[in-house]
């Protein structure tokens, strides 16, 4: 299970400073912030803007343009289920419906107990062993309902 630091301006400034030296630093910085804090809160935007000499609106525009960047902290576990064609062809939509029903979750939502966030992803390159997913960064292929449930149970138990 990924462990994230609690958001702090000082922590964020250190992360930003570490990555702001490279050319075109915005994405490297935003990835690093999300890796450390699990998300990119609005409070990060002025810090990034100052470091890159951009307006806050520009940084906001960048953060919201890319699907990867979360505006809010995720649950303790993150399931990214592939919704693209190769997974659709192998029953991916039914798989997604099943897990959404079981957890009572919309896409990009987190269970009430903060245990799991469900996110769509459009292709993990696991198209010859579809349907596929990524659970807490671990890749999963040839999924069906029971296999996905087992992986979720294992992850949740590990966290309890």
């Amino acid at each position: 299970m990924p462990e994230y630091e609690r958001w702090s301006e000082a922590g964020a400034s250190a992360v930003i400073a570490k990555h702001s030296g490279v050319a075109g630093a915005a994405l490297p910085i935003l990835h690093a912030l999300q890796e450390v804090f699990g998300h990119i809160p609005e409070a990060a935007e002025p810090l990034v803007a100052a470091a890159l000499n951009l307006s806050r609106a520009e940084v906001h525009g960048i953060v919201t343009f890319y699907h990867d960047f979360r505006r809010h902290p995720p649950g303790r576990h993150v399931l990214r289920l592939c919704r693209a064609e190769a997974c659709q062809a192998a029953g991916g939509e039914a798989l997604a419906e099943g897990v959404r029903r079981r957890l009572g979750l919309e896409w990009n939502a987190t269970t009430a107990d903060g245990g799991l966030t469900l996110e769509p992803v459009f292709c993990l390159g696991l198209c010859a062993c579809s349907p596929a997913a990524m659970l807490d960064g671990q890749v999963l292929g040839r999924l069906d309902g029971p296999a996905l449930d087992a992986a979720l149970d294992e992850a949740m138990e590990g966290a309890a």
Binding site: V22, A23, G24, A25, A26, L27, P28, L30, H31, L52, G61, I62, F65, Y66, H67, D68, F69, C82, A84, E85, A86, C87, Q88, A89, A90, V121, F122, C123, L124, G125, L126, C127, A128, C129, S130, A132, M134, G137, V139, L140, G141, R142
Partner: protein, 511 residues
């Protein structure tokens, strides 16, 4: 202690189906027998339906076992050490028809070597192309690539050598080289497999390209959905730099952030510059004014990975493979509902039907094949009636399709083609960079029109509207995201018209 060497892929697809558990179980089983296990983690051979595929040396070359699971570890080890049969035994791996029939130029080492061993790379023919390029000089290297007939494998099929020539001749310093490994098309994974399985080959290809055009800085833009490839590439670059293979050329990995449109070359440049991935109008071509306004060659990973072979064996040898203006080989990706899913490298010219039915073995579900989408989310859906189309840029274009990055996604007869058409519009709407109206708004209108059509709301009018909308998107969009989304939509509508009849329950959804 007796030592045993075995080979098991560390490719993301192998890991996704349990390779790490197999590796751990093998270590345990070897310990029980008092043996030291030397488990070489290779790339994948590309026979993904057989993963995890374990290999062992034998008098007949490497023999395989697959697909194996952790519970098979002890019995497979016994079969290898004590002889005897095993239910998962596949015999000599290179005799498996799927592998034997291929022309593996870019996949020559994949699944055989340790991807991060520079010794393995050199021993299996690595660096020969770079050495020859250096002896020929930049201009002759460039002309060799022109003569090979290599066309971009990212989708557009533009002649690689011509692009290099333009960048080499363009004024401006420094010059940049960008490897496009964003691989956003569903049904494609060849870039990923090559980066994970033979990263030095891509580095060699980039070193040759940089030498030919005079680029001093290179970027490999890899999608964030590929963490294993990102790690492999970063490690390989560190090793190659240490080995002195990158003199005068700084190479760096950059990670995408989940935006499909950033695979489009000009959006990628904006993304690399630290901006939103907005498509730029062309001209100017990136080769003339690209990254930070400087001449920039941007090529797909497979295009660049094809370069070492061409330089080592010569343009003529590469020209010897293929059909018409499609020269050389393509690592075709067989995906979706297919029995033998994986990566199959062959010369251009093989038909779609051969790939789907003979090589791929039809559907995994055992039902009839109804459609194959070729070339990713912007590619057309082909019905079996068109499976005689040869894999060739022009032949696919002639049938209102494209081969794109070489992905084939197979669907069985349970597919709802109206739903696939709607998804194409939905995906375009989700991923549009927003710069041009036909793509940004047209795609949303597209989903609405399809919903009304399925709801039975003046269907003849909706069909007309959809055709008109597709026409506008095709000719009015700034890039191929909006421009090619009509391919899957119109191909579904043309070849699978019966799926677009009004249906119960759709009316409410459309309102």
């Amino acid at each position: 202690m007796r030592r045993l060497r075995l080979y098991l892929p560390a490719d993301a697809a192998a890991i996704a189906v349990g390779a790490q558990r197999v590796a751990a179980a093998l270590a345990d089983a070897a310990a029980v027998r008092g043996m030291a296990l030397d488990l070489v983690r290779t790339g994948t051979r590309g026979m993904v339906w057989l993963e995890p595929l374990l290999e062992a040396d034998s008098a007949q070359g490497r023999i395989g076992f697959g697909p194996i699971c952790a519970a098979d570890a002890a019995s497979v080890l016994a079969a290898i050490l004590d002889g005897g049969t095993h239910g998962k035994a596949l015999g000599p791996v290179e005799q498996i028809p799927f592998l034997r029939e291929q022309t593996r130029l870019v996949l020559a080492r994949c699944g055989i070597t340790d991807p991060l061993s520079p010794g393995d790379y050199a021993k299996h023919g690595g660096w020969k192309g770079l050495v020859r390029a250096k002896s020929l000089g930049p201009a002759a290297t460039l002309e060799e690539i022109v003569a090979s007939g290599l066309r971009g494998r990212g989708g557009a099929g533009f002649p690689t050598g011509i692009k290099w020539r333009t960048a080499a001749a363009a004024p401006g310093e420094p010059k940049y080289l960008v490897c496009n490994a964003d691989e956003g098309d569903s049904g494609t994974f060849a870039d990923r497999v090559i980066i994970e399985g033979d990263p030095f080959m891509l580095i060699e290809g980039m070193a040759i390209a940089a030498f030919a055009v005079g680029a001093s800085q290179g970027y490999v833009y890899i999608r964030s959905e590929y963490p294993h490839a990102v790690a492999a590439m970063r490690a390989a670059i560190r090793i190659a730099a240490r080995e002195g293979a990158l003199e005068g050329f700084a190479l760096e990995v950059r990670v995408g952030a989940g935006a499909y449109v950033c695979g489009e070359e000009t959006a990628m440049l904006d993304s690399l510059e630290g901006k939103r991935g907005m498509v730029r109008a062309k001209p100017p071509l990136p080769a003339v004014r690209g990254l930070w306004g400087k001449p920039t060659v941007i090529n797909n990973a497979i295009s660049l990975a094809s370069v070492p072979w061409i330089m080592a064996e010569g343009a003529g040898a590469y020209q010897g493979f293929g059909l018409g203006r499609s020269r050389g080989t393509m690592p075709v990706q067989l995906a979706g509902n297919i029995r033998h899913g994986g990566l199959y490298e062959c010369a251009f010219g093989v038909t779609l039907g051969e790939l789907v039915e003979r090589v791929g073995g039809g559907t995994a579900s055992g039902r009839a094949v109804r459609a194959a989408q070729v070339g990713g989310p912007l590619g057309a859906y082909f019905p079996p009636a068109l499976f005689d189309t040869p894999f060739d840029y022009e032949a696919f274009a002639a049938r209102d399709g494209l081969i794109g990055h070489g992905g084939i996604v197979v669907f069985d007869d349970t597919v709802d083609m109206a739903r696939q058409a709607r998804f194409a519009m939905e995906f375009c709407a989700r991923e549009s960079c927003g710069k041009c109206t036909p793509c940004r708004i047209g795609s949303i209108r597209g989903t609405e029109v399809i919903d009304r059509l399925l709801a039975g709301d003046r269907p003849a009018l909706q069909r007309e509207l959809l055709a008109d909308l597709c026409h506008t998107m095709k000719f009015g969009s700034l890039c191929a995201l909006g421009g090619f989304t009509p391919y899957p939509v119109l191909s579904a509508l043309t070849h699978f018209a019966e799926d677009f009849t009004p249906r119960a329950g759709a009316r409410a959804a459309a309102e």
